[in-house]
Amino acid sequence: MKTTSRIYTALVFIFLFAPIAILLVFSFNESKSLSVFGGFSIKWYRELLHDEATLESVRNTLLLAVSAMVISTVMGTAAAVGIQKLRSKWLRTALSTATDIPMTNPDIITGISLMLMFVFVGRLFGLANSLSFWTMLIAHVTFCLPYVILQVLPRLRQMDPSLPEAAQDLGCPPLRAFFKVVLPEIRPGIVTGAIMAFTLSLDDFVISYFTSGAGFQTLPVRIYNMTKKTVTPKMYALATIIFFVILALLLISNLTDQNKKKPNQ
């Protein structure tokens, strides 16, 4: 039983990592081919470093992801606090439904719907092209918000509702009571929510595709445009770098997790 399960698990992981292994290997290909290995070289990496458009799209992606993360984390946390205190059942259901929409709707519909609105409103103001960094930011904040809210809300639920009251009772004004007592309690949820927002924004292609203008391209949109033409191993080099960055981040987060656990036992 145990060996069967191990073999099975291994096979599934081979399936999941086969393409990644392929692109790791072929990023070092001397030749231009993506399926025949013609000798080791790092020329595609060198070429990537000189590809201004791609590098700029990386910067754009990071800028967008950080902005979307900050805005959605602050607004989402505030929203979760508000929802938690909400007494009206009607409003609660309405907000819950609205929050569900970006998560259950296919990305393509979220993208199209925002695009249509931006185009329409842009036309009202006489803009030929209304899609820009700002429209993308709005779109990204929109699809990140639900994830932040759903990370923070359970933390608020688990918290003893008398904690903020106790702080006020002991002389804290309400806002300071929130920062001194509630925030430390829900911090793990906020951090997870922020990380989710960041990675979702970083990785999003479909919604970005519909809401990005000509002037502002993110990496996924850039990759899409690149794969429309013949692809060179340069793109694999890019993917390899992404892979190692993610690997490093995951390892670091795992290690810090373990370090955190040790002192508390």
């Binding site: 399936f15 508000g82 695009m115 249509l116 779109a139 990759i223 794969t227 793109m235 995951l250």
Partner: protein, 287 residues
Amino acid sequence: MTGSGKMRRVVLAPYSLWALLFILVPLCFVAYYAFTDNSFAFTFDNILRFFTATSEVEGKQVYTYLLIFWRSLKLAVISTVICFLLGYPLAYFMARSSERRQKVMMTLIMIPMWMNFLIRTYAWMTILQDTGILNSALSAIGIGKLHIIGTESAVVIGMVYDYLPYMVLPIYSVMAKMDVKLLEAARDLGCNGMGVLKRVILPLSLPGVLSGVTMVLIPSVSTFYISQKLGNGKFFLIGDAIEGQYVANNLHFAAAMAFILMVILLVVMALMKRFTNKRVYGGGDSF
């Protein structure tokens, strides 16, 4: 409380406004575009076109968009079923292994999710090509070449590959929380291995399965990149159709198709939610 009532309104206002402006209003725009023509006059044409437009395929007259929609649905359902069959045992094995191993496997599952799916899908193209790595390997060991790229199978492989983690994770998280004592109790009460699976594990993991199914079904029914690359553009899916109309700047028809897709998915989701509420404890709202 008057004081905190004011505060509640202050903290909730930005999000409420945001949800209204950027979630609900845009959906109204989809409907608005779907039912208007280029001069924004009311019309049913876009919707009708979806249901009635025909074209000739291999000498036969077919309903173009209905066929596309049918194909999207078919491939998405097949992919979802395969994801379930592949993912459920994996989630089960993961949940039952040691804590260290669970952590490693979680990380392994997450890495592909965080890598750009366009490049990973593209890599499949180079694997599945007629002159690709798979076929070179097959001919090297003496098996003939397989023609996969540009078939429905290739699209399904792509979907399963891209969305498998979304099936595994929710099932795994439900199973990891499952109390081992329950399984022992079931054994104690005379269930054999299969019985435990059928009568205890499966029903208890149902919420995870349902959320896994939604998380695979919805992106695969609406994808447009996988079919373009692995289907060689021969297997148009509903996503491709919408994207094509968008690129052609035919926004009203794109909106009409998005609208129809949305309505159908809404009905499916509502049915599933009812099913969940009935079968699984109360479910309901996400708040």
